[in-house]
């Protein structure tokens, strides 16, 4: 167990971490957040590579804040592939064992062999890292981190610099490995999808602070604040400022919609309504959806979806995510349909979650 107590980090008068309290249990802990959220800084402090400006790091009840990383039981995988260029893959993986454990050469060969096998590096043991592809180089770095069962294992966006296919493959392997381990694993990612596929405990970070801690699915379905909803969602959740009155919601343009069931308990005030991009549609087969007209600003195509950025007179700018690849022309007038029962409601003052839609509604699309 690793406890981070009141961690602050100030670099050149700029606060990189502001008062972080976090207890990391054995098993997988995923730090999720956009770049500059402070994930790397927090991990470096947890590992002992940096010291915090204030606060302390407690490992199994012992304060290790100022203890050098050399005297801790840590393994660290960097985002960029870090290996010893002048050593073979075998020597790279063997290096923590050689330095930390007294092993006979047959034991050493066996341990390195196991780690290499786990990451499919068997055929490359005699090569040097720069003779390998990026994915293989990162595998070497991961194998070096896994070859000893350290009490703390840290992976800083280990898959970020790899291509899509490799990432999927490695993620599956890592998932299996993390389950078998008896260590505190900290894994950071800037992609909410990755946090969701990995499972485990998710720590949502933003601008040097922790926003929410809990299972990934929980952070996704019931974001504690509107900020979590924006950060832990890709593309970010649409947020609209609205008023809630008696039986209805009043959108910025003045359109009144009857209040859906799950928003009944919300007080009559200003609220921020949240709307997931993939729940906006361009057709309304069942009827009953709220229609919003707007002008298309930008259509982004990803591999399997189309993101439409639409400016609408009534509600400002909205992003809609449509499954499949669609062609649209910029400036085109579009009708978007919003289902009121899929809306989140956040407090207008501090952004805390007031009401979230039924999960059945969300999964039903």
């Amino acid at each position: 167990m690793l406890e981070l107590v009141g961690i602050e980090k100030v670099v050149d008068v700029e606060p990189w971490l502001t008062s972080v309290d976090l207890v990391l249990e054995r098993g997988l802990n995923v730090l999720a957040g956009p770049t500059l959220a402070g994930k790397t800084t927090l991990m470096r402090i947890a590992a002992g590579l940096d010291t915090p400006t204030a606060g302390s790091v407690v490992a199994n009840g012992e304060d290790v804040t100022r203890r050098s990383v050399r005297d801790r039981d840590v393994a660290f995988v960097y985002q960029e592939f870090v290996n010893y260029p002048s050593m073979t893959v075998f020597e790279n993986i063997a290096s923590p064992l050689r330095r930390r454990e007294r092993l006979s050469s047959s034991e050493l060969r066996q341990r390195v062999g196991e780690a290499a096998e786990l990451l499919a590096l068997g055929p490359y043991l005699d090569r040097r890292p720069d003779e390998l592809s990026g994915g293989q180089q990162q595998r070497v770095a991961i194998a070096r981190a896994l070859v000893r069962e350290t009490s703390l294992l840290i992976l800083d966006e280990p898959l970020a610099n790899l291509d899509y296919k490799l990432r999927e493959e490695l993620r599956e392997e890592l998932n299996r490995i993390f389950v078998e381990r008896d260590s505190v694993v900290i894994y950071s990612t800037s992609e909410p999808v990755e946090a969701l596929t990995l499972g485990g405990r998710t720590v949502v970070m933003h601008e040097g602070a922790i926003l929410q801690v809990g299972p990934a699915v929980e952070a996704y379905h019931r974001p504690a604040t509107s900020q979590v909803a924006r950060v832990f969602s890709d593309p970010p959740m649409n947020l609209l400022r609205c008023a809630v009155r008696h039986g209805s919601i009043v959108l910025p343009g003045g359109i009144e919609v009857p209040r859906p069931g799950h928003l009944v308990g919300v007080d009559d005030t200003e609220v921020i309504l949240g709307l997931r991009p993939h729940l906006i549609t361009v057709a309304d087969p069942d009827g009953g959806a709220l229609e919003v007209g707007g002008e298309l600003l930008l259509a982004e195509l990803t591999g399997s979806a189309t993101y439409l950025h639409v400016r609408s007179g009534e509600s400002g700018s909205l992003i809609a995510e449509l499954p499949g690849v669609h062609s649209h022309s910029i400036g085109e007038h579009l009708h978007l349909y919003i289902r009121p029962e899929s809306l989140y409601a956040f407090a207008a003052d501090d952004g805390r979650l007031l009401a979230s839609p039924d999960q059945a509604v969300l999964s039903g699309g």
Partner: protein, 271 residues
């Protein structure tokens, strides 16, 4: 103009340039293969009475060959000492931020801006008093004044191109610093060490003023021996040119070995 003409022009100019550069060296090398009377007697390009007598004299006469041995001795000593001092210094400049680090780095470089003559008298006095005068170590130490800053500057560039995460990974893996530095870090900056050693060699091998002032008999370098060959019978042309030719050889050899590293150094902007 057609490209072939441009190429021909380029080649011609290159040829003219190289010939102009090589002419004095070739002239010296050819002169060294002729006896003195021959040199003074006739103006010919190719030696008529070909002889290796000049070289034989240099390799057998102790007053000549000890000059080479002395020069080689203090040059190597200087290379080793300069690198031994510059490697840790460059590592510190490359890896740590400390108060005034930039100023210190610049101050180190300014040492090279002072002419050797400035240091001549104090160094001479000092070495005589501590008994270093007329030893290879004296010259090696005096040359460090110029070579250490240059070596630090070159090495710092190479070291800063090695990501810091390698240092950290070694620390995480459990390396102690000396082992990390020798086994992991040094192999990564091999080129830099080669280039720095080369520049130390160049300076130390060629430098005359300090080397002459700080030695008298026992550690007299070859360059000094060469400047003292004016005898009552005039200049000994044959011997001088032979000695000069021999002096060029170590430099040529060293350049041959480090030429690839130097190219890398240029790419890093530090040579």
């Amino acid at each position: 103009m057609r490209p072939s003409h441009v190429n021909a022009m380029r080649r011609t100019w290159l040829l003219v340039y190289v010939v102009a550069l090589m002419l004095p060296i070739a002239w010296m090398a050819l002169m060294s293969l002729r006896p003195n009377q021959d040199i003074l007697g006739s103006f010919t390009w190719w030696p008529e009475n070909f002889s290796l007598d000049n070289y034989r004299t240099i390799f057998t006469d102790a007053s000549w060959y000890t000059g080479y041995l002395n020069s080689i001795q203090y040059t190597l000593l200087n290379m080793v000492l300069s690198l031994a001092v510059a490697l840790p210094a460059a590592y510190a400049f490359s890896r740590y931020r400390f108060l005034g680090d930039n100023h210190l780095f610049f101050w180190l470089l300014t040492n090279r801006m002072a002419p050797a003559a400035v240091f001549l008298l104090p160094v001479f006095q000092l070495y005589q008093n501590v008994g270093l005068f007329d030893t290879p170590l004296a010259v090696a130490l005096a040359h460090m004044l110029f070579n250490v800053p240059l070596a630090v500057w070159i090495l710092e560039g190479f070291m800063s191109s090695v990501p810091r995460s390698i240092d950290e990974t070694a620390l995480i893996d459990g390396y102690r610093f000396p082992r990390f530095f020798l086994r992991v870090f040094l192999p990564l900056i091999r080129s830099g060490v080669g280039v720095a050693a080369f520049f130390c060699f160049m300076f130390s091998w060629v430098e005359l003023l300090l080397a002459r002032t700080l030695t008298s008999v026992n550690a007299k370098p070859i360059a000094v021996t060469m400047t003292r060959t004016v005898s009552a019978s005039g200049l000994d042309w044959g011997l001088l040119t032979a000695a000069g030719t021999l002096t060029l050889i170590p430099g040529a050899l060293v350049i041959w070995f480090v030429r690839k590293h130097i190219a890398k150094g240029f790419a890093l902007g530090r040579v």
